[in-house]
């Protein structure tokens, strides 16, 4: 499991990781450039605006010239308007680009994760993985838009202000040189504190929510154990921890806001102090310069009040980028890149195949050898954990890293592309999975080059066409989530037909264990019969009728082949198979 260190310190995250986003942003280059070109304009406007105020006062008001005053005042208003338009366009273009990038990256991430080997998925908590694709992107888009982008503008505006101050009066501008390093330090210090406390409170909230969900899920157990007071107490503990962590965040936030606000007042004091000392030295500062300067000071501090929060957001963005990129960088694929060229029917052969799952010590399959010649059917039976499903997982190239060899049509499957192998197999998994969408969609599942005729053929073969043609819209009938508007038998038939589309050389059938109503049962048995006759079939069988119809039966026990032969041979042998069959239907004590 790839554990992410939540305590990544600020320093450990490199700003360089921001640049790893560029390939994703490149398709929206034009938007980004348009937005970026607006930024200096916005900064320039905020630099120039106080200068118009200064002119209005010094050249208009103080000289008693009203029309000049109006001209400069109008210029000032026009600049405000221009600033609104430019910053509006800027935020629209860059944010649209960012949201597009996020959308594309999310698609790419989900697609990538879905292709990673099942062996890798076995070690993941799917909920946590989903977080990568959802909330991490959420954090990223929020921090990029409200943190990174707006702080770039803030810094530019800040620079503009400083330049404007120097234009007005180099002497007064010294104040900026004194104050800015202090402010920078304050902002950085607070942004670290804010980031830490934000992470801490998020962690606390996660454990509080986790506990809440467990407690509510276990409501009956809690009641039955009379544990309500104890559980409430534990909740209160976690809740208090969360509250205190939040409070720390609030504390730093308040303190930073007030500190910057206070520094802005102090700066004003310093400006006046320098002005007083300056004029006594005979520098000739005007009232207009002073008014404009004060406006600069205000402009300077407004963005700074938020900069700390934005910096904290930036750190959030870096963490998210790192997590997303590390997931996108994973390459735990099942190896194999050669195309599959199998004839219409092929045989399957396992030769001394042994296999263990990555972390489990014991072998799941031990020296398994069997063969299913082209066009025959093989039933695999055995108890849970005997390795039945592992056999088909290896055959379908879901897992790799076995000993021995697996041959299809006398050719090892090892160098073949996993998805190409599966494209040549019709696989019916034990759990029926249906999606919202038409029946036709559920049959093809997005596979290209499948015609309506192929679908109808497959349905006809197993007799699914009968019920489908009676549905409103026939093959376009909309299946609800989990197939809830179809009967169990109908669902099973759709999954059967899905496996047969395109006449795959091999069919793998993992029979469902749960029993269903007799009518559906009859339909399914009929369909199974048809499938067994059609091509090379491997079936993990639970139904006696299915087993009896197979050409060969493999009895698996603890990963080893215990018996192998035709049903008739095995009955005659009076071994394990015979024992199981003679138990018949009533098996309430089938152990």
């Amino acid at each position: 499991m790839n554990k992410i260190d939540h305590k990544s310190s600020v320093g450990a995250l490199s700003f360089a990781s921001l640049f790893t986003l560029w390939p994703w942003l490149r398709p929206n280059k034009k938007l980004v450039l348009a937005g970026a070109s607006m930024m200096p304009v916005v900064a320039a406007i905020s630099m120039v605006q106080p200068l118009t105020v200064q002119r209005a006062i010094d050249e208009g008001i103080l000289k008693g010239n009203f029309s000049t005053t109006m001209n400069w005042a109008t210029a000032c208003l026009a600049l405000s308007l221009a600033s609104y338009i430019f910053s509006g366009v800027q935020s629209l273009t860059t944010s649209t680009a960012v949201h597009r990038m996020i959308r594309d990256m999310r698609t790419a991430l989900v697609s990538h994760v879905l292709r990673l080997a099942p062996a890798w998925h076995d070690h993941q908590i799917s909920g946590a993985l989903a977080t990568r694709a959802t909330s991490d992107f959420d954090t990223l888009s929020e921090s990029l838009n409200q943190g990174v982008l707006s702080s770039i503008i803030d810094i530019m505006v800040l620079g503009g202000c400083v330049i404007g101050m120097f234009i007005l009066s180099a002497k007064l501008a010294i104040v900026a040189v004194i104050v800015l390093p202090v402010i920078t330090w304050v902002v950085i210090w607070f942004s670290r504190k804010l980031n830490d406390s934000m992470l801490e409170s998020r962690r606390n909230l996660a454990s509080l929510n986790g506990f809440t969900q467990e407690a509510l899920t276990s409501l009956n157990a809690v009641k039955l154990l009379n544990a309500e007071p104890g559980v409430t107490k534990r909740f209160a503990q976690l809740n208090r921890k969360f509250r205190d962590a939040q409070l720390e965040n609030v504390y730093y936030d308040s303190l930073m806001f007030s500190t910057i606000d206070g520094i802005s007042s102090i700066t004003l004091g310093i400006v006046l102090f320098i002005a007083i000392k300056g004029t006594s030295l005979g520098d000739g500062l005007t009232a207009g310069i002073m008014v404009a300067f004060v406006q600069y000071v205000q402009q300077l501090f407004e963005p700074l009040k938020m900069l700390g929060t934005k910096m904290a957001m930036l750190q959030g963005a870096l963490t998210s980028i790192q997590r997303i990129q590390s997931l996108l960088g994973r390459s735990d694929f099942v190896p194999g890149d050669q195309p599959v060229k199998w004839p219409e029917t092929v045989g399957i052969r396992f030769e001394n195949v042994s296999f263990r799952y990555r972390d489990q010590g014991s072998l799941v399959l031990k020296n398994v050898t069997f063969d299913a010649p082209a066009g025959t059917s093989l039933a695999i039976i055995g108890s849970t954990g005997s390795g039945k499903s592992t056999i088909i997982k290896l055959l379908a190239k879901l897992y790799s890293g076995y000993e021995g060899s697996i041959l299809v049509g006398n050719q090892s499957i090892e160098p073949l592309r996993p998805d190409a192998v599966r494209a040549h197999m019709g696989i019916v998994p034990q759990d029926i999975v249906l999606f919202e969408g038409s029946i036709a969609f559920n049959m093809t599942l997005g596979r290209e080059g499948v015609t309506r005729a192929d679908i109808v053929d497959a349905c006809r073969l197993i007799g699914a066409d009968l019920f489908i043609e009676q549905l409103p819209g026939t093959y376009d009938f909309q299946v609800r989530e989990q197939g809830s508007n179809l009967s169990h038998g109908q669902r099973q038939l759709i999954v059967f037909a899905r496996a047969l589309i395109g006449k795959p050389p091999i069919v793998i059938l993992d029979e469902a264990t749960s029993s269903i109503d007799p009518q559906s049962e009859a339909l399914i048995q009929e369909a199974t019969k048809k499938i067994l006759q059609s091509r090379t079939v491997v079936v993990i069988a639970h139904r006696l009728e299915t087993i009896k119809r197979c050409d060969k039966v493999l009895v698996l026990e603890h990963g080893e082949v215990r018996e192998l032969g035709s049903p008739a041979e095995l009955i005659a042998k009076k071994g394990r198979y015979h024992e199981l069959v003679s138990l018949g239907g009533a098996h309430i004590s089938s152990q």
Binding site: M70, L77, R115, L224, S258, I266, L272, V291, V294, I588
Partner: protein, 592 residues
């Protein structure tokens, strides 16, 4: 008629009045300081404009620096003092609502999904906190600013004040108009995100199946619409934000224009000084955010109101104990059977009876087996006996006392009931065993006894930190059988007169099962065991066979064996469950 919001305010915010008061005082002082600074600066500017010597003003500029420092301390205090009650309130409401959730009958609470309940605990209470903290601060801010700043401005020049403030009004209207739209598009994005999260976690959890079926493309096409919806809602949000926020820039510009144009005229006419203009400029800057936030405050209120109502939906539900008419103390009526169920019937809706005329008695130390297929009503029966569900027809007596007259907790103390699903917490083994008990009061001996009895002691000893090993999502994963035995041990830790086990050892392997049954049979408590396995039913004193909510047979195992086999073969006639140790789980429980 008091609204839920008022009731909540009275209960949780009012007791915090000292904090609010302190915060208000600090806020007033902050305002006075902040307003005084431009007044001091004005004097310097005016002197500069008049060309008078400035040396005498040095102390004045130093005073501004001093006030700046004081401002940091006092503003921090005001913000902290007003935000604190919000946090305290959030935590207190959360504690109370959660505690209430646990004490509501599960049949009532199950009307809400767990996601919904968690969201109420998080989002709705957050709305309350924002209302009682941020809302309160902003309201106070606006009040003080209107009083202090505007009056200060008006004392300089009332007409100029009116002119400078007038652009704020359209700004306010715009914010009020745009905010609901902003929140609507934000909500759309959140909702699409919720759907997407569900789909993605489902997709990831089925990665095997998807790869098996080469359904990669189909899965991606399912995700795209919501991903696009999020994108579109986000872009819409940006459009609205872009319209709202930079508008402030232009309105500030308008105010500034008014100040220069009208103020300039007044200065030329000799009615005002340049220092006044500067002070005005600063005051306008101070007004912008609080006035803009009026729209936000309104919205905070609009969101807090439904949030408080949603919380009252939960806290207004009757607790289990409330439903019990007369809570007579547990009596001991000797001679009465331990448990007597007579003519009990139950249905969810009127059309079909889940339980139909159930009667049986259970005596001290008796072992009663129950056989019944899925949907036979076993779990419903157990839920009713332990008062997880209520009933109307028939009666259930525990030692002669009607269980409806007892506190649910008292019933559950006498009857230990192990649910089909082992529900464990992601905490240590010890915490799980001691759930609801004081961990320090439970001796190691007791822990050993119950875990040995449940045949899980050896498993625990093999864990890296034995009793303190974390299990579940954040810790070590246990197998299904281990979970079941741990849940069983948790049950056995508590003394009870009756133990009901609803198919609790379905995932336990064969050998362990034998040992488990042997040790269970040694307990002194009366046992009720529901199971599909003959090995469990056989040693019972009596076996009760249920089918479709009715008792179809009741007697010694040997007497009902034939019937059980018939039912079993009917059900799974065509399936040959080759040594599979899985039994089909379909919970008929009230929730999950």
């Amino acid at each position: 008629m008091t609204t839920p919001l008022k009731r909540l305010g009275r209960k949780y915010a009012a007791p915090q009045w000292r904090w609010y008061l302190g915060g208000t005082v600090a806020l007033i002082i902050t305002n006075i300081i902040v307003l005084e600074i431009p007044q001091l600066a004005k004097k310097v500017i005016n002197a500069l404009a008049a060309g008078t010597p400035l040396d005498s003003f040095t102390t004045l500029s130093l005073a501004i620096i001093g006030l700046g420092l004081a401002q940091v301390l006092i503003r921090t205090t005001s913000r902290m003092m007003i935000f604190w009650p919000g946090r305290a309130l959030e935590a207190a409401v959360k504690d109370d609502v959660f505690s209430h959730m646990l004490r509501v009958p599960s049949s009532l609470l199950s009307r809400f999904s767990i996601g919904d309940l968690t969201s109420r605990l998080n989002n709705d209470i957050t709305q309350l906190r924002i209302f009682f903290a941020f809302g309160a601060l902003q309201v106070l801010n606006v009040i003080f600013i209107s009083i202090f700043t505007v009056s200060k401005m008006a004392s300089i020049d009332p007409i100029l004040t009116a002119l400078a403030i007038s652009p704020m009004i359209p700004m306010l209207l715009l914010t009020k108009f745009m905010m609901p739209r902003l929140y609507k598009s934000m909500r759309e994005s959140t909702e699409a995100m919720g759907r997407l999260t569900g789909k993605i976690s489902e997709t990831f959890s089925q990665a095997h199946v998807i790869q098996t079926m080469n359904a990669h493309g189909a899965m991606m096409s399912r995700i795209t619409p919501d991903n696009d919806a999020i994108f579109e809602a986000n872009v819409r949000t940006i459009w609205i934000r872009t319209l709202i926020w930079p508008v402030m820039i232009i309105l500030m510009g308008l105010s500034q224009f008014a100040t220069l144009a009208w103020g300039g005229r007044q200065i030329i006419a000799g009615h005002l000084s340049v220092g006044d203009i500067m002070a005005f400029n600063i005051y306008i800057g101070m007004l912008t955010f609080p006035f803009a936030s009026l729209g936000i405050i309104l919205n905070v209120y609009q969101r807090a109101k439904p949030a408080s109502e949603r919380l009252e939906d939960i806290s207004g539900l009757a607790k289990e104990d409330d439903a019990t008419q007369s809570l007579s103390p547990a009596r001991r009526l000797d001679g009465e059977p331990l448990l007597e169920v007579s003519h009990l019937s139950f249905s969810w809706t009127d059309d079909r009876r889940v339980l139909d005329d159930i009667s049986f008695t259970l005596c001290q130390g008796e072992r009663l087996g129950i056989y019944g297929s899925i949907g036979s009503g076993k779990s419903t029966l157990f839920n009713i006996i332990t008062r997880l569900l209520s009933y109307k027809e028939g009666s259930i007596k525990l030692r002669g006392q009607n269980i409806l007259e007892m506190r649910p907790s008292a019933v559950r103390k006498s009857i230990a009931y192990g649910l089909q699903q082992p529900l464990l917490f992601s905490e240590s083994v010890r915490s799980n065993l001691c759930l609801g008990l004081d961990e320090e009061q439970v001796s190691l001996y007791e822990l050993e006894r119950c875990t040995k009895q449940a045949q899980v002691y050896d498993d625990i000893m093999r864990l890296p930190e034995t009793w303190d090993t974390l299990i579940g999502e954040k810790g070590i994963k246990l197998s299904g059988g281990q979970k079941q035995r741990l849940a069983l041990a948790r049950l056995l830790l508590r003394p009870a007169e009756i133990i009901i086990l609803d198919d609790v050892i379905s995932a336990v392997d064969h050998d362990t099962e034998h040992r488990l049954i042997d040790s269970l049979l040694k307990t002194k408590a009366a046992l009720v065991i529901a199971s599909h396995r003959t090995s469990i039913l056989e040693p019972c004193d009596k076996v009760l066979v249920m089918k479709e909510g009715r008792i179809v047979s009741f007697g010694k195992f040997s007497e009902v064996r034939a019937l059980i086999e018939t039912i079993a073969s009917e059900e799974e006639a065509k399936s040959i469950d080759l040594g599979s140790k899985k039994s089909v789980h379909e919970s008929t429980e009230v929730r999950i």
